[in-house]
Amino acid sequence: MSAVIGHEHDHDHDHAHGHEYHPGGLMRWVKTTNHKDIGTMYLWFSFVMFLTGGFMAMVIRAELFKPGMQIVNPEVFNQMTTLHGLIMVFGAIMPAFVGFANWLIPMQIGAPDMAFPRMNNWSFWLLPPAALLLIISLFVPGGAPGVGWTLYAPLTVQQGMGMDLTIFAVHILGMSSIMGSINIVTTILNLRAPGMTLMKMPLFVWTWLITAYLLIAVMPVFAGAVTMTLTDRHFGTHFFNAAGGGDPVLYQHIFWFFGHPEVYIIAIPAFGVVSQVIPAFSRKPLFGYTSMVYAVASIAILSFLVWAHHMYTTGLPVTAQLYYMYATMLIAVPTGVKVFNWVATMWKGSLTFETPMLFSLGFLFLFTIGGFSGLVLSIVPVDIQLQDTYYVVAHFHYVMVAGALFSAFAGIYFWLPKWTGHMYDETLGKVHFWLSFIFFNMIFFVQHFLGLAGMPRRVPDYAPQFTDFNMISSIGAFGFGLSQLLFLYVVIKTIRSHEPAPQKPWEGADSLEWTHLPTPAPYHSFVTPPTVK
């Protein structure tokens, strides 16, 4: 190593030099290798995708406002449900949490940046081409795929060229996720400040370490599944065709081997954010830190073992159904550990209810409801009734929107002062929370009843007896959509504000970005790593 140590001086020189070269304007963002710039791009990209996918949700809810065909034909309706799902999962929620990871992990572990700043840039800049491919698919002959976000064969094999665009979009998104995850794992394992042992890391960092592991494990599997779809479409293979010894159910197995961990890829960083916010506003350390780490790890391991609970109605043997049912129920144990720990953190705490805390509490209540409806669905005989009804739609939106999205809002309000250097408007933030909370329940709570009454999902028309609940749901959806424009206004107002935020606006916050870094966080966080006691 002597040769390298001999260059120590050069390092410092280049270090300083590398950081003084800042292209201006657009090129700053295109060429950047700074984790904060990249985190910001991820967050804005995800917001644009959130509005795009949200617009598609508005089309869906407008069509479902009353029975009969109103504004779109069934093909377009199917394209909207498909793209809404794909864009929200891969374009909005996942990039939002990668944005948090980029901003926060180096600051929370005392690192100078991510381990591979250039690859970090590429992970982000792969997203726009993938999104472009998805959007282009709307305008090619045959339109975007109308197959649902799960891209089930054999329907996918029969679609037009929009399906090919979607397949390649998935490949590129997968590359982005894998590179981003390798970067995150390496950063966490190799760039921690002296004294920052694994079990001293903030829980947000832990959740991302485990999420990144899940991503590296399952994104390639998804890539394999859509590659088989592609070769079945164009190169004469019979993976999903019984005439050639294949099976459409094979697609479902491979997809859900990816798809179930994917649910936790979305949920686990949300747990991480909430685990930072709740202690801060309870002015108490997180209750049961060690058990939280083990609970997240157990959820991650279990997520590989339960995939066929999405497939109870495909004709699984009874023994398999029983195994998947009990294995799925087992996940309630570590999830329960987490929920009780969050509640215990608040117990006898000195609570205040600023916007991040409100969103975290909203998360806690609604995610728990989503967890319980998941338990309901894990029961085979019940699921056979509820499969492909609005009950399932209600269930996963409680997890995805009230779980992941609410915690992302909590995180944005929580760290916005650190990121921008300005305080957000507390009143407007609270208004945003209450509007989101009320409208969210208007949309999705009634969908439980619709599902129990037998309304199928992914169908543009319905029987007249479902009209009332659908109208409530649609009005809620329009309200929820408009409320998010208020969020945009709050964020822009914060960025443009002149009111400086203190270094640590939240009394109970204790991770390095609050205790060691000024507000706004400097462009380079820790050029020399802090020593953690």
Binding site: M1, G18, N121, M161, I182, G224, R233, T237, I254
Partner: protein, 283 residues
């Protein structure tokens, strides 16, 4: 070990990633056009590939210059090791999807089609066996035997694993001649493997009637061996780069992660082949 140095190398802003994004967009978009028989398709793919090659030369060239310029300390080296390990893990999972499909077809879908009501009602007379194309495919094929070219290819890859390790030992002992010889032999073995596999594919298509369209066996055979062959190609190209760098005098006895990363990748490709040999060719 952890955070020994305070100066972890941080690169300055770079345009290579976005060039790579343009390349991938062109390749995928062009690929879609090509598959759907739009005339411009192949040209767009070609433009994308050129862009990708340009990006690789530029990006990897920069990394090599930085490495040889001594900018990477021990901590950066460890980052490379972690990342290469996780990358190989992701590759393992990619192959796992296709091995899973093979397993599913052999154990579940083909026996299912050849038994019970499914067979009697839908595919009367279909006998579940392996190798098989499928109940709806009329054409006949002969499966690929294990003890001809595949066995020779197994020996070739195992030998190449030895030669690359020999080269590594030479590098650690500062023996340039042996290093270059070892790498050159490894590259030659890689190319030999690929040539034999290409011959095997031609043989399969022209004499055995074994094509991608031959149902369960054809799809799993060509997709598994094909993706493996693609990875051998990548590995061989990487070995050629490392060989060129060794000739140019790069690497020292204690600073040569690029060499090790490539050899890890080569061993990974080797292990996948052993699984293929047993599960696809032999059993």
């Amino acid at each position: 070990m952890l955070s020994q140095s305070t100066s972890y190398y941080l690169p300055e802003p770079s345009h290579w990633p976005v060039v790579g994004s343009c390349a991938l967009f062109l390749m995928t978009f062009g690929g879609v056009l090509w598959m759907n028989e739009v005339t411009a398709g192949p040209w767009v793919v070609f433009a994308g590939m050129l862009t990708l090659v340009y990006m690789m030369f530029g990006w990897f060239g920069t990394v090599i210059r930085e490495s040889e310029g001594g900018k990477y300390n021990k901590q950066v080296d460890l980052s490379f090791r972690w990342s290469m390990s996780w990358f190989i893990f992701s590759e393992v999972m990619f192959f796992a999807a296709f091995f899973g499909a093979l397993f599913y077809m052999r154990v579940l879908s083909v026996p299912g089609l050849g038994s019970g009501d499914t067979m009697e009602q839908l595919w009367p007379g279909f006998v579940a066996q392996w190798p098989v194309s499928g109940p709806g495919i009329e054409e006949k094929f002969t499966s690929m035997g294990a003890w001809g070219i595949p066995a020779i290819n197994t020996l070739i890859l195992l030998t190449s694993g030895v030669t690359v390790t020999w080269a590594h030992w030479a590098l650690k002992k500062n023996n340039r001649t042996q290093l270059i010889a070892g790498l050159a032999v490894t590259v030659a073995l890689g190319i030999l493997f690929l040539t034999l596999q290409a011959y095997e594919y031609v043989h399969a298509y022209h004499e055995l009637g074994l094509t991608l369209g031959m149902g369960a066996y054809g799809a799993t055979f060509f997709m598994l061996t094909g993706f493996h062959g693609f990875h051998v190609t990548i590995g061989t190209i990487m070995l050629i780069v490392i060989l060129g760098r060794s000739i140019a005098g790069h690497f020292t006895a204690d600073h040569h992660f690029a060499f090790e990363g490539v050899s890890w990748y080569w061993h990974f490709v080797d292990v996948v082949w052993l699984l293929l040999f047993v599960l696809v060719y032999w059993l």
